[in-house]
């Protein structure tokens, strides 16, 4: 199994501090490129500026949509003799009026063995995820932001002729849709 790989091609969060937050998910691992609410802060001592990530839900609004700019690739040296390019999708944010956030941390993989954790021994970004109960960084996509992500970041719906990747209730991943989310 591989995890999503995200590249922030051009995002407002590169220049605006307030669009970046420290976050944590206490129920699941969160891949880079996954989306969530940051509705409340952690009440744990020492985590005064850490926000808690919760899954997108219809009741809270799902108005986060990206339009497909084009199919591209990411160069990930997997050691194959043939192509070492992974299909990826360039997406432009067209709506985030529901104030959802997206995970994006530097891909330093943590290898977990039993209760032990080891960092820095695996450079492959496809093995990177933001582990449950660990603080990671998130940014709030703004209209006009451009990101690129691999297929692992987008849910089970086939791309087909769909041209939008949208927030979906009950899952952290975006999913393909024919139109932007209306509500």
């Amino acid at each position: 199994m591989s995890y999503n790989v995200l590249v922030q091609n051009a995002v407002q969060a590169m220049n605006i501090d307030a669009l970046n937050r420290s976050a944590m998910c206490t129920t699941a691992n969160v891949d880079n490129g996954n989306v969530f609410y940051l509705a409340s802060k952690s009440s744990t001592a020492g985590e005064g500026e850490v926000w808690l990530a919760t899954q997108p839900a219809t009741a809270s609004g799902l108005k986060l949509s990206f339009t497909l700019v084009g199919t591209t690739y990411l160069s990930i040296a997997d050691g194959n003799i043939g192509t070492q390019r992974v299909t990826a999708y360039e997406l432009e944010c067209v709506d985030n009026s529901s104030n959802l956030w997206m995970a994006y941390s530097p891909e330093i993989v943590t290898v977990v063995s039993g209760t032990k954790k080891y960092k820095g021994i695996n450079p492959d970004p496809r093995d990177f995820t933001n582990l449950e109960d660990e603080v990671f960084t998130a940014f709030k996509p703004q209209v006009g932001d451009i990101v690129t992500m691999t297929a692992d970041g987008i849910g089970a719906t086939a791309i087909g002729s769909n041209t939008f990747a949208v927030a979906t209730t009950g899952q952290y991943k975006l999913d393909w849709a024919a139109t932007a989310n209306a509500a």
């Binding site: 590249v7 922030q8 091609n9 051009a10 590169m14 160069s75 040296a77 194959n80 003799i81 070492q84």
Partner: protein, 359 residues
């Protein structure tokens, strides 16, 4: 002469004998570097004496002169030391022997017991450049990512046996069986490395821009793939490698050629250089499990850049272990030697290569 670190650790200040053995091995096979000023038979005599001394040293016997071999064989320390030395000698030559047979496409790595191996791979792509407007600070951010291939070696064993009665009658010899077991391990490693390479090559894309596998030889596809492999390997010149049978197919499309009896084609069976690309034979090896099949596919021509990073990684874990029980340990008066070598293989490269499959 380079001796592996585990052999140096084993031999201490007696490393010279392992250097001598490696020199003898290279001389015997007429490959690699060896001292040409000393004859092979002279080296053999010297090594026989040196090996006896080394075994005596390890088994803490003051001397072995004048003691009958069957008596020496009942000494547990002597028996242990004999096979410890055989194991170390195998380790002294194995990496080089393997490199000779599969070194064109295989990177041989050595490590200690308990090690796993990881090979970090750098991306081979360059970044795509875009035209840009004049009043804009940055363009879209592009990134590339390293990958990693890991190898966890597995044990490969072989056990050989002799009957005591046949040994006493001079009909069987455990040391001979043990050396053959070591040779079998080397042969299996060679076949495994080739199979790993061939499987990866036969799975390459055969259509579109990614095309690296073409069915059927033609001069134009040969040249196209050769220049593609050279260009994408950063200018490292490609060569064509294959068995002799496969290489004889590398000829001009226009069949209006003539060759005389002094030509390369008549003498060695293939053209040594064709259309700017050198050709090199992969010596066939026997598939000793299936008489009299051959292990290398005679229908494949591989185009690789030997000076670019190798395509296959062969990881050797620790030293060769040889376990030999005592002369009278088995109830049926037999004696066993087990050779254990731990190794693993994986494709892991930043290079590209191509293949032409002949019909």
């Amino acid at each position: 002469m380079k001796i592996p670190s585990n052999v140096i650790a084993f031999a201490g200040d007696k490393v010279k004998i392992y250097e001598q053995f490696k020199d003898y091995f290279n001389h015997y096979h007429k490959k690699g570097s060896f001292d040409e000023t000393v004859s092979l038979s002279e080296k053999e005599n010297k090594i026989n004496i040196a090996v006896k001394e080394e075994i005596a040293r390890l088994s803490n016997l003051p001397t072995v002169d004048g003691i009958a071999p069957e008596v020496l064989a009942t000494s547990p320390m002597y028996s242990w030391a004999t096979f410890a030395v055989i194991g170390a000698m195998v380790d002294a030559i194995l990496p080089d022997a393997i490199i000779d047979s599969v070194g064109l496409y295989t990177n041989v790595l050595t490590g200690g017991y308990g090690d796993s191996f990881s090979i970090d791979i750098k991306p081979r792509d360059l970044f795509v450049v875009s035209k840009a407007g004049k009043g804009k600070r940055t363009s879209e951010v592009h990134k590339q990512f390293e990958g990693q291939v890991t190898i966890v070696p597995e044990f490969h064993d072989i056990t050989v046996q002799v009957a005591l009665y046949k040994v006493l009658a001079g009909k069987e010899n455990l040391a001979e069986f043990a050396m053959k077991a070591a040779k079998s391990l080397e042969a299996q490693m060679t076949v495994d490395a080739y199979n790993c390479f061939n499987t990866a090559m036969e799975a390459l894309d055969n259509a579109g821009d990614d095309l690296l596998r073409v069915a059927g030889y033609s001069q134009s596809t040969f040249v196209e793939l050769a220049q593609k492999v050279t260009a994408w390997n950063g200018g490292n010149k490609s060569i064509a490698v294959a068995t002799q049978l496969a290489l004889q197919n590398v000829l001009p499309n226009d069949a209006n050629y003539r060759y005389d009896l002094d030509s390369d084609y008549a003498k060695i069976g293939y053209v040594k250089s064709f259309a700017g690309t050198d050709l090199m034979v992969l010596p066939q090896i026997s598939d000793y499990k299936n008489p009299f099949k051959l292990a290398l596919d005679d229908n494949n021509i591989y185009i690789i850049s030997p000076s670019a990073p190798k395509l296959i990684n062969l990881a050797l874990e620790g030293s060769t272990i040889s376990i030999t029980n005592g002369l009278y340990d088995n109830a049926n008066l037999t004696q066993n030697t087990t050779m254990k070598k731990s190794y693993g293989l994986a494709v892991g490269t930043s290079s590209i290569a191509a293949i032409i499959t002949l019909s």
